[in-house]
Structure formats: structure tokens, C-alpha cells
């Protein structure tokens, strides 16, 4: 894919459309943005690259007025401005295309484009539908789209909904368009269509802040690329200045200094073996995990890693293939999986892993009631003992089993989810981003715990977006891209670079 020569950015650099300098934003316990500077010119696509939690979302939210920055300056057209709310951002011509669209399913395309601005078409209190649809068609035409504007948004595919969202922003005279992972949920053909639209927008002088994990499109689209990590900008490049591998290396960050790799173990019998799994999304996933082994499942966000563990755990139905546990097939349903000794640590612990209003004690025994107690008889002292043991073993900082989980830090919450599975006596651990959103100290502890699990003979499958973490933690790893496994790295070949090469390039 060639995009022709890079546009003459130099000429425009004198007066950028938008300039952010030293933007700071912190939340209790987290510096979400540590002095971030950023600028974009008219007709430019500026890509922001970073992992989850790198600060991209916070930056967008400051830009669109959802967050108020704690410090720093903003300039539009060279004049200082303040964005105190969504209305300010709108007035400045800043619009965001979110991953979760701000569209109404059972209104048609025209109604959605002009939602909240119907006044322009009102005649004696009634909406002049013909005028509204004509205006909507005109907006769509600017993007080269020919939808029937009477179609319900609900009946459109994701890609088309996205186009409507873009049309909506354009109709509000947006000059700066922020696109948050626009290609995450659409097909390649649809993506090409999106790129055409982006081209048209560029020609109209719209500046586009583009967020994505997909290196191929980033390299093709980005006039400028800024890499963020841990709430700071770690690098900014013009087109052609940096190779994809370098960008990703910057994005995923430091190697884990001073950390030695796990010593390879003599793997035991095969605990999990999956053969050509297919689901609505996944394609022919085959993998196996042995006792005493930590196996990585690497890949960028959206490559299908979570779907694999959900399928193994029996949450998402299989459309093909089979799974064996200790060489025998088993029922694919969460409660059956648990009884068979499988544990799933979900990626979103607050929504999927914990009952936040309940106590530490309630949460730790939630998955092991069937195992700890017979005849439905719950014995609080037993539960308390199990919980106390886990608190001690996992070194959970809590006032005790009676404390609400809601009040604990991320790291301690994650340890409770892990503890839930230890109590359930699992032998196969499926860990989806086990260190997401936890601090450095807790990370090291979680690494140690995972290592300990394997030493005790459990089989562990770890998903992580942090490749150094995988290299440090795992005996070997599978690498995924586009819902398929694209490679396997054994202990000898496992390295950040090897993962990168497989995860990024086709």
C-alpha cells in the first residue's frame, strides 16, 4: 500500500491547528497524564500509539472535555483556549468517534446525524423531514457515501454506523476528529473504505487524531506518530522516521531489568489440549499446555486471545474442534469447567471477576462452595479459615475477610480473584491480563505466584499485552493475530523481538 509522498508538514508546522503543552491529569494513586505535549495541523493524520493504560484515553477525554486537565496549556489556531466541558470542545470543532457509538439504534440515519440540532429543520414545531434527509444526504455525499438516510442505525453494520458517526461529526463542522480504534471491529474491506473517507477528510482540511493498535494501517495512514507509555510521550516521529518494530518496542517499553527468566522445567503430562477450535470469531486454534508449565498467549489487543480462553472455559460456544482435559473430553460450561479443575481469571476483574459490594470472604469462596462444603452446609469458620489462609499466602493487604472488596487496591483485588481459584483447587489456570492495572510491587508478587503455581504442578496459560512480561514468565508462547495462532515460540526462541515479528507483521 503506497500513499504517495508525505504531505508537506513543514509548511504547516508554523501554526498548528491544535497544540497541547504539558497537560497533566492525575487520579487518586495514578498519574494518568504526566506532562504530555501534542500538536496537530489541518489536513494531518496524527496517530497515537500506546497500550491500554498508556494514557491515550485520558488524553482524548481531556481533549473532548470529559476530563478537566490538572495543568498545562491548550491552543487552537495559536490562541489559548480552555476546555471545561463537552460544549467547549464542540464549539472549538473537536469531535470524538468513540468505540461505543453515540448513536440511537431506533432512529434513522438522518435523525441520528442531526440529533439535538433538529431546530434547524423545524417548521411550526414539526420537523421538515424532507429537508432533514436532504441535508443528511448532502453530508454523506461529502464523504462519498450513498446510504438511504431512512435506514435505522440499528440495521446498519458496525462499519456503516461508524460512517454515520463520522458524518454526524462532520455536520457539526468538526475540524479536529478523534478516532478511537476505528478499525477494531470492522473487516479489511470496510477498513479500506474508512481510509478513503479519511483521505477525503484530509483534503477538506480536517485534522485527525487516530488511535489504533494495527501497525499496518498506522504506518500507511500516519503523517505523524506519537507513542505513549505510562502517561507520558516516549517518542514522536514523522512519516517514515521509524520502523514498525521500533514503534512497538517503544510502546511496550522497557525490558524487565534484573529479572531472570524462569528456568525451563521438565514438563509433565498434557493437561489441556485444544484441537482446531472454532467459534463465531476464532479460526482453527490448536494449542496444548502441560503440567508444571507456564505458556504464554501473546498478541496485540483484539487479536483474539480473550476469545480463546473464554472458549476453553465454556463461556462462548464452539462451532468446531474439540478440547481435552487430561486426555478426556469434558462438558463445556463454566460450572463443569470449574469442577474439572479449570480457572479463568477474566480481563475485567470489576465487571467479570468480583462482586464489589461483597466482602473479601464472600469473594474468595465464591467458586469453591461446592468443594469446601458438603450438603449445601456453609460453615463460616471454615470459610474464614480458607480466606485467612489465602490472605496470608497471597499477602493480600486487607483489614480482614469482612472488608468490602470495593475498598481494596487493584493489585489486592486481583489477588482475591486468583485466590478464588486457588480455593477452588484448579489445576489449569487461564489468566487473562493478570497484571493489568496493578502497581509494580503487586506485579512482582503476581509473577511469583504464577511461578509457584507451575512449580506445584499446575498448568498455566497467560495472556498479556506486555511482551517482556511474557518472556520473563513463560516457558514458551503462542502468538496470535487476527483470531488465529500465527506462531509458536519455544523456550529457545522466545524473545520480545520474536513475539513482535509474529504479532505485528503479516
Amino acid at each position: 500500500m503506497t500513499m504517495g509522498p508525505a504531505p508537506a508538514i513543514d509548511g504547516r508546522q508554523a501554526a498548528p491547528l491544535l497544540r497541547l503543552s504539558n497537560i497533566k491529569k492525575s487520579f487518586p494513586g495514578v498519574d494518568a497524564l504526566k506532562s504530555v505535549s501534542f500538536e496537530i495541523s489541518a489536513g494531518e493524520v496524527h496517530v497515537i500509539l500506546g497500550q491500554n493504560g498508556a494514557g491515550k484515553s485520558s488524553l482524548i477525554k481531556v481533549l473532548c472535555g470529559a476530563y478537566l486537565a490538572d495543568g498545562g496549556e491548550m491552543e487552537v489556531d495559536g490562541r489559548p483556549v480552555a476546555i471545561r466541558g463537552p460544549a467547549d470542545a464542540n464549539a472549538l470543532g473537536i469531535a470524538v468517534i468513540y468505540q461505543e457509538f453515540s448513536l440511537v439504534p431506533y432512529l434513522d440515519i438522518a435523525q441520528n446525524i442531526f440529533l439535538g440540532r433538529e431546530g434547524a429543520f423545524a417548521k411550526a414545531g414539526l420537523i421538515d423531514k424532507a429537508a432533514m434527509h436532504a441535508a443528511a444526504r448532502q453530508v454523506l455525499q461529502q464523504l462519498g457515501l450513498t446510504y438511504d438516510t431512512h435506514t435505522y442505525v440499528h440495521d446498519l453494520g458496525v462499519a456503516h454506523q461508524q460512517m454515520v458517526e463520522i458524518a454526524k461529526a462532520l455536520s457539526q463542522n468538526a475540524r479536529i476528529l478523534v478516532m478511537d480504534e476505528p478499525t477494531a471491529a470492522i473487516s479489511e474491506r470496510e477498513s479500506d473504505r474508512l481510509f478513503e473517507v479519511i483521505d477525503r477528510l484530509k483534503q477538506r482540511g480536517v485534522a485527525i487524531v487516530y488511535i489504533s493498535h494495527r501497525m499496518k494501517e498506522i504506518m500507511a495512514l500516519g503523517d505523524r506518530i506519537t507513542v505513549m507509555r505510562d502517561g507520558a510521550v516516549v517518542g514522536s516521529f514523522l512519516r517514515g522516521e521509524a520502523a514498525a518494530g521500533e514503534l512497538v518496542r517503544l510502546m511496550i517499553g522497557r525490558s524487565l531489568d534484573g529479572m531472570t527468566r524462569r528456568a525451563p522445567v521438565g514438563a509433565g503430562h498434557c493437561v489441556l489440549s485444544a484441537d482446531r477450535l472454532r467459534t463465531a470469531k476464532l479460526q482453527d486454534i490448536s494449542l496444548d499446555v502441560r503440567a508444571g508449565e507456564v505458556v504464554g498467549l501473546a498478541g496485540l489487543v483484539g487479536s483474539g486471545r480473550t476469545e480463546v480462553v473464554r472458549a476453553i472455559f465454556g463461556v462462548d460456544p464452539l462451532t468446531g474442534g474439540n478440547i481435552h482435559l487430561d486426555g478426556a473430553p469434558f462438558t463445556l460450561r463454566p460450572d463443569a469447567s470449574i469442577r474439572a479443575g479449570i480457572a479463568l481469571l477474566p480481563e475485567d476483574r470489576k465487571r467479570q471477576g468480583l462482586a464489589l459490594p461483597l466482602t473479601v470472604g464472600d469473594n474468595t469462596v465464591a467458586a469453591s462452595l461446592w468443594r469446601l462444603f458438603r450438603y449445601f452446609r456453609f460453615i463460616p469458620t471454615t470459610a474464614r479459615q480458607v480466606c485467612d489462609d489465602l490472605i496470608a499466602r497471597l499477602n493480600i493487604a486487607t483489614r480482614g475477610p469482612g472488608q468490602q472488596v470495593h475498598d481494596l487496591s487493584g493489585g489486592n483485588q486481583q489477588k482475591i480473584v486468583l485466590g478464588k481459584w486457588l480455593a477452588a483447587g484448579a489445576r489449569l489456570f487461564l489468566l487473562d491480563e493478570p497484571t493489568r492495572g496493578v502497581d509494580v510491587g503487586a506485579k512482582a508478587e503476581i509473577y511469583r505466584l504464577i511461578d509457584g503455581l507451575a512449580k506445584d504442578g499446575a498448568a498455566v496459560l497467560v495472556i498479556s499485552s506486555e511482551f517482556p512480561e511474557l518472556v520473563h514468565l513463560c516457558d514458551r508462547a503462542y502468538v496470535m493475530r487476527d483470531y488465529a495462532i500465527v506462531g509458536h515460540l519455544d523456550h529457545g526462541t522466545l524473545s520480545e523481538k520474536a513475539i513482535l515479528d509474529l504479532a505485528v507483521h503479516p
Binding site: 453515540s102 448513536l103 440511537v104 439535538g116 433538529e118 440495521d155 446498519l156 456503516h160
Partner: protein, 325 residues
């Protein structure tokens, strides 16, 4: 463009899907009752059918708007009884009809504001909030009437109820006009757009700079106000006000909306579907009356019809999902 035709096909498919199971049920019922009893299609019975439908329509149409916002109003039956009692008591006390109706509208406004404020601004669950106002309305009606029917007020209400224009009962015309008005509001004004938006994506409405909570509250107020007006139809029909006469009408109103294919999620629904739902319920009850089935069993039949309609729609939707997936 291929995309264009694909979109058109989608739209037709959606239209087809929107024709709810209730239509099939309605046709089947009319055929069955008409064959079973020739009087069913007589002018008298049709007028009667229209009269019965008009009151339910006055309740079910605004209920549609509420359900489109993913809400529910259980208080309409009790409020209807209360407003009837208020109007009757004031008329008996010698006040003019205008004052009486004004008072009923004021009562409706207050209940609507309570429902709307708690549901929209405080995000409390609608079914419990309106259960609370159901109790309040029921109690107030009992307290005002001391539990006895109030009769002997101006005959003009009954005269209005019995009058016809060009052979069509006036209440039917009134209900039809009301339906037209709500249709305009829902499909031709921004308020209507916002109703779909509240059920479908309230956040989007906030982001668009609309006072979404205010709109949300207004829907409940609108419903309560039209309930207050409907009390006139109730008084005309029974020629007396009884506090508990309308108990359970909320069930028929909700049933009519759900029968009509309006869903509690995503702001998916269809105002004219509710008209079909009302017709289905009225035809069923009328037909059962003609067959002299007692009223208690009729409620049961309404419930069963609802389940059948839901099953038909669900079955078809399942087919669609299967085909798409």
C-alpha cells in the same frame, strides 16, 4: 451501488420483522368470532368495540412512549380511578366541569412529576417507583370517595360518551385524534426523537447537549396527564366514579404495548403496533363477552395471548439471528 441495495434490503426485512405476531392473532380472532357469532360484525357491536378500545387506547398510547424510554408506569390504573373520583366529587359539590377537569389534570401532573423526577433524575427503577404512586393514588381515591361510588353528577359527560358524529361514536373519534397527535409528536417532533434516544442511548442525548432528564420526566408527565383526561371517558362509560373500577387497566395497557411489538430495550417500538395490540385485546374481550365468558377468565386469556405473541415474535427473531449468525 451494491451497498445501497443491501441497505434497502435490510430496511424491508426490518419492516417485515416489525409486523408483530399480534396481526396474525388479530386476524385469526376476528375470523373465529365472526364465524362463531354473526352479531360480532354488526354495527352495534363494532361501535361497542370502538368505545371499549378508545379508553384503553388513551392509556396504552402514552404507555408506549414510556416503554420506549425503557420504563414502565404501573400507576395508570389507580390514577385513572383517582382522577375519575376527583372529577365526580367536584361536580357533585357543584363545581363546573372545567374546574373539575382542571383539578384532575393537576392531580395527574403531580403524580407524573413524582414518577418522572424519581425515574429520570434519580435513576430509580420505574416499576417500583410507579408501584409506590399506584398505592398513593389508590389510597387517595379511597379517601376521597370513602370507598363508595360517586354518582349523580352532570349528564353531559355521559351524553358526550354516547354521542356520535356521522355514525361514529365521539370517544372513538377523540381517541383517533389523540392517536394522530401522539403520532405527530413521536415521529415529527424533536421531543419524539428524544424519546427514542432515551431508550436507545440516553448518554448520546446528553452528549448532544439535550436536557435528557427533562425530556425523560416529560414523558411520564404526558402519560399521567392523558390518564387524567381519559377519566372523562371512564365516567361517561360507567356514569359513576368508583375508586377501584380501573384497577388492572395498567396491565391491559402494558399488554397492548408489548403485544404491539414494542420492546423494553433499546427504544425499539412502534406506536401503531400499540393500536393493533389494543384492538387485539378489545376484540378478544368483546368476543369472549359475546361467548359469555366471565371477566376474570378474560384477564387470563389476555395474559395467554401475550405469551403466545411473545413466543411468535421470539421464534421469528431467533430465526433471523440464526440466519445472520
Amino acid at each position: 451501488m451494491t451497498d445501497h441495495t443491501a441497505d434497502n434490503a435490510l430496511r424491508h426485512e426490518a419492516l417485515w420483522r416489525r409486523i408483530p405476531g399480534v396481526v396474525l392473532i388479530l386476524i385469526a380472532m376476528v375470523a373465529w368470532f365472526a364465524i362463531g357469532n354473526p352479531r360480532f360484525l354488526s354495527g352495534d357491536n363494532l361501535a361497542n368495540l370502538g368505545l371499549q378500545a378508545s379508553l384503553l387506547l388513551m392509556l396504552a398510547l402514552p404507555m408506549t412512549l414510556i416503554i420506549l424510554t425503557a420504563g414502565l408506569d404501573l400507576s395508570v390504573g389507580a390514577l385513572l380511578g383517582l382522577c375519575g373520583v376527583v372529577i365526580a366529587a367536584l361536580l357533585v359539590a357543584g363545581w363546573s366541569l372545567i374546574v373539575a377537569v382542571g383539578a384532575a389534570l393537576a392531580v395527574g401532573l403531580i403524580i407524573g412529576l413524582i414518577n418522572g423526577y424519581l425515574v429520570s433524575y434519580l435513576s430509580l427503577p420505574a416499576f417500583v417507583v410507579t408501584l409506590g404512586t399506584l398505592g398513593i393514588s389508590e389510597g387517595l381515591a379511597l379517601a376521597i370517595s370513602h370507598g363508595d361510588p360517586i354518582g349523580g353528577f352532570t349528564p353531559s359527560i355521559e351524553a358526550f360518551y354516547r354521542s356520535t358524529v356521522g355514525g361514529v361514536p365521539t370517544p372513538v373519534i377523540a381517541a383517533a385524534l389523540f392517536c394522530g397527535l401522539l403520532w405527530l409528536i413521536l415521529y415529527r417532533t424533536r421531543f419524539g426523537n428524544y424519546i427514542f434516544a432515551i431508550g436507545g442511548n440516553k448518554e448520546a442525548l446528553h452528549l448532544a447537549g439535550v436536557k435528557a432528564n427533562l425530556v425523560h420526566m416529560a414523558v411520564y408527565v404526558l402519560c399521567s396527564l392523558s390518564v387524567a383526561l381519559s377519566a372523562l371517558l371512564l365516567l361517561g362509560r360507567t356514569n359513576s366514579a368508583h375508586p377501584s373500577v380501573a384497577v388492572g387497566m395498567e396491565f391491559e395497557a402494558i399488554a397492548a404495548v408489548v403485544l404491539g411489538g414494542t420492546s423494553f430495550e433499546k427504544g425499539q417500538g412502534w406506536l401503531l403496533g400499540t393500536v393493533l395490540g389494543v384492538l387485539a385485546i378489545t376484540v378478544l374481550r368483546n368476543g369472549l363477552n359475546v361467548l359469555s365468558v366471565e371477566p376474570s377468565l378474560q384477564v387470563l386469556c389476555v395474559g395467554l395471548m401475550l405469551i403466545v405473541a411473545l413466543l411468535i415474535d421470539r421464534g421469528r427473531k431467533g430465526e433471523m439471528a440464526g440466519a445472520a449468525g
